[in-house]
Amino acid sequence: MTPELVCPAGTPAGLRTAVDAGAHAVYCGYRDETNARNFPGLNFDRGEMQDGIAYAHAKGARVFVAINTFMRAGATAMWKRAVDDAVAAKADALILADAALVAHAHEAYPAQRLHLSVQAAAATPEAIAFYRERFAIKRVVLPRVLTVEEVARLTAAARPCETEVFVFGGLCVMAEGRCLLSSYATGKSPNMNGVCSPPSHVAYNEDEAGALTAALGGFTIERFAPGEPAGYPTLCKGRFCAQGETSHLFEDPVSLNAMALLPKLAEAGVAAFKIEGRQRGRAYVASVVRTFREALDAMDAGRAPDPAALEALMEGGRDTAGAYRKAWR
C-alpha cells in the first residue's frame, strides 16, 4: 500500500490549504508550550482546532494533534488539558513525546490512537517496543538520522506499530528531543518551551562592504557575502571554527528532500511520509503538498515520482537525502 501523506498545518488557514492540496492527514498543535513549534503567530486555539478538525473530516482528511514537548514539573495539568481537548475535538491521533503523557493518555483514553513523536527519539526496535508494549502506541515518527536500510529493519521490527518518516523540509542532524543546543545558547528549549533557535534571539549585522553576519543569542554563526541571500541562523546549520578551520561543522544549510527515495521507503513498509514546516507560508505548503501528492498518485499508478518537480522549492537550490544515504555519516 502506498504510504499516506502527512502535512504541516501551522494555522487554521494552513490546515485548509494543506487539505485542499491533497494531504491525507495534517498535523497541528495548540497555541502554547505543549507543542514543539511554539512560534508567535502559529498554532490553534481550542475553537480553531475543533473547526479545523471538522473541515478536514468533511474533506476526508485526518488530523493529528501534536502535544510533543515535555511536561513541566508542577504544571503537568496544561499538557493533560491539551490531551483532553484534542480528544474532545475528535483528533484522529495525538502525537506525544513525554513518556508520562503517553502513559496518561493511554490510561485516560484507551480508545484514542496515539503516535509517538519524533521528539521521543525512538530509533531502535527496543525503544519502540517500550512504548508499544506498555502504552499501545500505533505509530512512531522515526528520527531523521536513519538510513533507508535501518528504516526497513525498524519498520519490520516495530509491527504492529506503524512507522512514519520525514521526506521533506527542515533536517535535524541531532537526535531529536535530546538536543539542548538552543537551550544552551538562548535559554529557549525545544523540550521545555517548544522553541529552537528562536527569532527573538536572532540579530543580523551588515558591515561597510555589505557583508552580513547572523548571530543567535549573541553568537555569530553565519556570514553572507554582499548580495548573497541570507539564511536563517539555525544553530546546528551554522558556520563554526574548529582546529583553525571554518566550516558548517554539523550540517550544511540544506533541507531534506527524499523525493527520489519515496519508492524505496514505501518498499521498506513505512505507513506515512511526513513533510516538515508548520512555520511555512500557505503558498509553499500548497505547492509542496501538491507535488508530493502527485508523486504518491504516480507511485500508486506504478510510475516513478519525478525528483526534479521540487527543485524550484528548495532553499538556495540545495537539498540532501540526509542520513537516508549512509555516506552522510
Binding site: A99, L180, G187, T220, E222, R329
Partner: protein, 300 residues
C-alpha cells in the same frame, strides 16, 4: 534533615587512552571522596574494546574501596551489536545506568540508574521511571533549580549534573571525524587527541561548543558551586561530577568541603579556576537562563 548528599563520579565521556583511563580510576579508588562511580562508554561503541579487558579489574578495585559501581551504557545505541552488548551486560548481572529508553526496556524492571540522557522533566515521568526500576535518576542538565527542587521532593533518587562540560546533543554523525575530513566508519579514532573534547568557536572566535565524537557539549564547564547547598536542602540525593582531564580528586574534595561547610563558595570558585579547566565556569541552566551563562555573569 534528609540524608547527606552524596557525590557521584559520572562516566568518562571522552576517549582517554587506556592507560590514562586505568590510572584515573586507580586514583579515584584510592583518593576520591565519592560514594558512587559510573563506569563505561556512553558516547561511541568503537571505543569500548580498548577498555573492556580492564573494566572488571577497575570495577573490583573501586568496589574494594567502598564505592558503589554502576555500569553506564550508550546514550544512542543504534546497531544490533550495540543493543546485544547492553543485553549481555544485563545478563551478566551488572548494575546499569540506562541512557536510552531501549536500555530501560531491556532491563525489564530490574533495579538500575538512569543517566542524564533520558527526558525526565516532571514528577510523573520521574514516578514512571521509579516504577520501572530506577533507583537513581540524573536529571536533564537543562533543568533549573526550582524544578529540580520540585522533582527531588518525596524521594531519594534525584542526581544533578554539577560539574564538567555539559552534554548537549547526540547525532548519528561523528563531528570529531567530520572536523578532520573523515567519516564515522574510518574515523582513525581522532577523538583520542582531545581529552576534554575539541573546542568549537564562533566566527568571531568566541568559545562556544565542544565536540566529542557523536556528542556535542558546551565549551564552558558547569559548576554548581553557588547552588550546591540549595540542592542539598531541596533533598537532592547526589551531585554528579563529570570527569575532565583536570585533577578530579581535587574537584571532588572541593565539593565535599563545600557541602560540609568547610569552605565558602568564593573559595571553591577560586580553587576551581586555578585548575587547568577546558573552559570558563558556567551555571546558566541551574539559574533558569541560557546554559552558557557564566558564574560571574549576573542578572537575567
Amino acid at each position: 534533615m534528609s540524608a547527606p548528599l552524596e557525590l557521584a563520579l559520572g562516566p568518562v565521556l571522552f576517549n582517554w587512552p587506556a592507560q590514562k583511563w586505568f590510572d584515573f580510576y586507580a586514583r579515584v579508588a584510592d583518593e576520591a571522596p565519592v560514594e558512587r562511580v559510573y563506569l563505561g562508554e556512553v558516547v561511541c561503541s568503537k571505543r569500548q574494546p580498548f577498555r573492556e579487558q580492564t573494566l572488571s579489574l577497575v570495577a573490583e578495585r573501586l568496589a574494594r574501596a567502598g564505592k558503589e559501581v554502576v555500569y553506564s551504557t550508550l546514550a544512542l545505541p543504534t546497531t544490533r551489536g550495540e543493543i546485544e552488548a547492553i543485553g549481555a551486560m544485563i545478563a551478566a548481572g551488572r548494575t546499569l545506568e540506562a541512557n536510552d529508553i531501549a536500555t530501560v526496556h531491556l532491563l525489564e524492571g530490574r533495579p538500575h540508574a538512569v543517566g542524564p540522557f533520558l527526558n525526565i522533566y516532571n514528577e510523573e515521568a520521574l514516578a514512571l521511571h521509579l516504577k520501572l526500576g530506577a533507583t537513581r535518576v540524573c536529571l536533564p542538565p537543562e533543568l533549573p533549580l526550582a524544578q529540580i527542587a520540585l522533582l527531588a521532593r518525596g524521594n531519594s533518587a534525584v542526581e544533578v549534573f554539577a560539574f564538567g562540560r555539559v552534554p548537549l546533543a547526540l547525532s548519528a554523525r561523528c563531528y570529531h571525524a567530520r572536523a578532520r575530513g573523515l567519516g564515522k566508519v574510518a574515523c582513525q579514532f581522532v577523538c583520542e587527541a582531545d581529552p576534554d573534547g575539541l573546542g568549537v568557536t564562533t566566527l568571531d572566535g568566541q568559545p562556544f561548543l565542544a565536540v566529542n565524537g557523536i556528542q556535542t557539549m558546551g565549551y564552558s564547564v558547569v559548576a554548581a558551586v553557588r547552588q550546591a547547598r540549595e540542592l542539598a536542602k531541596a533533598g537532592v540525593a547526589a551531585l554528579r561530577l563529570s570527569p575532565q582531564s583536570c585533577d578530579m580528586i581535587r574537584v571532588a574534595r572541593l565539593f565535599r568541603d563545600l557541602l560540609d561547610g568547610h569552605i565558602a563558595e568564593q573559595e571553591a570558585i577560586e580553587i576551581l579556576e586555578a585548575l587547568p579547566l577546558p573552559g570558563p565556569l558556567s551555571d546558566g541552566f541551574l539559574r533558569g537562563l541560557a546554559g552558557v551563562r557564566l558564574l560571574h555573569e549576573r542578572g537575567e
